[in-house]
């Protein structure tokens, strides 16, 4: 059984380390916050100007002045701090954020990512994605392994306009976990019930199966 979105998020949450500052993108990445392992303390950065993002507010307590980068109403936690957008991207650019998780349309086996523009469709903009992928030191992509037509999103070269180059360190899909190194995608884990053959079949980029490849444990 391929992983659900929640399970992709749950697997990525295993990458969190105590003391990490983490930026979670919109979509599956946001769900990672629900699976922070016990005993691990992380602080969530929202690039519109908050460190220490808390959960959604209780109904009736929404504050229009307190939103995340997805424009959702949120709350703060003890130790939270607000800052301006230049400071926010300054700390990202200076490598102060330990882990960034974001979605993608395509990832190439050299670490390139495309996730902002589809030629012929209305382009809404890259928001903070280009800043994040250009500067973060540890970037995990959370996405489905294939698109709606069943084509691999793990490619030898992105076909869509790039968001960033040589920047992705790991991809977690519904089928498995893939580190990116000079040999391409290194499959270190597969989803329960998913075969290595299925992963090989559905991966277009260079793929290496780790000697000690194992089933994802959630």
């Amino acid at each position: 059984m391929a992983l659900s979105k929640e399970q992709i998020a749950q697997r990525i949450a295993q990458e969190l380390q105590d003391g990490f500052y983490v930026n979670l993108g919109i979509g599956i990445p946001t769900l990672v916050a629900n699976y922070i392992p016990k005993g691990i303390e992380v602080e969530l950065q929202s690039e519109n100007g908050l460190l220490g993002m808390g959960p959604f507010p209780y109904e009736g307590e929404e504050d229009a002045d307190l939103i995340n980068a997805g424009k959702q109403t949120i709350t703060t936690l003890p130790g939270s701090v607000f800052f301006d957008s230049a400071t926010s991207f300054g700390m990202i650019r200076a490598g102060k954020v330990d882990l960034t998780v974001l979605g993608a349309m395509e990832v190439a086996d050299n670490g390139d990512i495309a996730n902002w523009k589809i030629p012929g469709k209305m382009v809404k903009g890259m928001g903070g994605a280009m800043d994040l992928v250009a500067a973060a030191k540890n970037i995990i992509v959370a996405m489905q392994h294939t698109n709606r037509s069943g084509e691999s999103k793990l490619l030898s070269k992105c076909t869509l306009p790039l968001t960033g180059v040589n920047c992705i360190t790991k991809v977690v899909t519904d089928l498995g976990v893939f580190e990116i190194n000079e040999n391409g995608f290194l499959c270190t884990e597969y989803a329960p019930g998913v075969t290595v053959d299925e992963i090989k079949e559905k991966t277009a980029g260079r793929l290496v199966i780790a000697d000690d490849v194992k089933e994802i444990q959630l």
């Binding site: 929202s46 690039e47 519109n48 100007g49 908050l50 959960p55 959604f56 507010p57 209780y58 109904e59 009736g60 307590e61 929404e62 504050d63 229009a64 002045d65 307190l66 939103i67 995340n68 997805g70 424009k71 959702q72 109403t73 949120i74 703060t76 607000f82 800052f83 301006d84 957008s85 230049a86 926010s88 991207f89 300054g90 990202i92 650019r93 390139d112 209305m122 382009v123 809404k124 903009g125 890259m126 928001g127 903070g128 994605a129 280009m130 800043d131 250009a134 500067a135 306009p161 790039l162 968001t163 960033g164 180059v165 040589n166």
Partner: protein, 232 residues
């Protein structure tokens, strides 16, 4: 130092068609609602707006788009706006999409008197096309110019008559940089107080950057994504 003007109409009175405006706010959070309304009333057009977003159809900069007042948007994200899309596709509106941190930092550069900055975002992508690149310590950077604008328009939580501003929560966002970058900076505030009422240690924008200040008549503060959790 009394920077107080009577109201939004007075504050924007010399903004003319064809000018470049920088506007604070992220989505609909922290936008200068009253100044935008006054610009809509004024009916000027051919404006270039530097703002992270373009509002929604019936609020924020969306109201200026409805009035066909905007010639060009310089933004990082312009979703959530059907009229925007229509004008863009019909060629009535130009858009220059730039990374969010680059937008913030090009504004900051203007406020710090720096003509250009080297930034990482967009290296190797189409954003880099036509831009000078340079390597420092083995990394490639793009040279990005400071913004040049005629007016900056920001919204703060509290301000004093000398123009000192404080912002609330994530409504701070782009406002401090835009305020610093303006040749003429207009600040609208929810609460206008006397000099001395704000603690000098906790002012986000020093009054030296602010040329005109007024208390907004009312604030709708619309929420784009109302997300809540249930009480147990």
């Amino acid at each position: 130092m009394n920077k107080v003007v009577a109201n939004a109409d007075e504050a924007v009175k010399d903004i003319e068609s064809g000018m470049t405006l920088m506007l604070g706010g992220f989505g609909l959070c922290g936008i200068p609602e009253n100044s935008i309304a006054a610009i809509v009333r004024k009916g000027i057009n051919n404006l270039t707006c530097i703002s992270n977003n373009a509002g929604v159809d019936d609020f924020g900069i969306g109201l200026m788009l409805q009035g066909k007042q905007v010639k060009k948007m310089i933004s990082s994200y312009v979703g959530e706006n059907a009229e925007f899309e229509r004008q863009l596709l019909s060629g009535e509106l130009e858009v220059d999409l730039i990374p969010q941190g680059t937008l913030a930092t090009r504004a900051m550069a203007a406020g710090y008197g720096m003509p250009a900055v080297y930034l990482l975002a967009g290296v190797g992508t189409e954003v880099a096309e036509g831009k000078e690149t340079r390597e420092f310590n083995g990394k490639e950077y793009l040279l990005e110019e400071a913004f040049d604008s005629d007016f900056a328009i920001v919204k703060a939580w509290k301000g004093d008559k000398a123009g000192n501003l404080i912002y609330k929560d994530t409504a701070r966002n782009f406002n401090p940089m835009m305020a610093m970058a303006g040749k003429i900076t207009i600040a609208e505030v929810e609460e206008l107080v006397e000099p001395g009422e704000l603690d000098p240690n906790f002012i986000h924008t020093p009054g030296i950057y602010v040329h005109r200040i007024f208390q907004g008549e009312k604030y709708e503060k619309r929420i784009e994504q109302r997300t809540v959790r249930q009480r147990n």
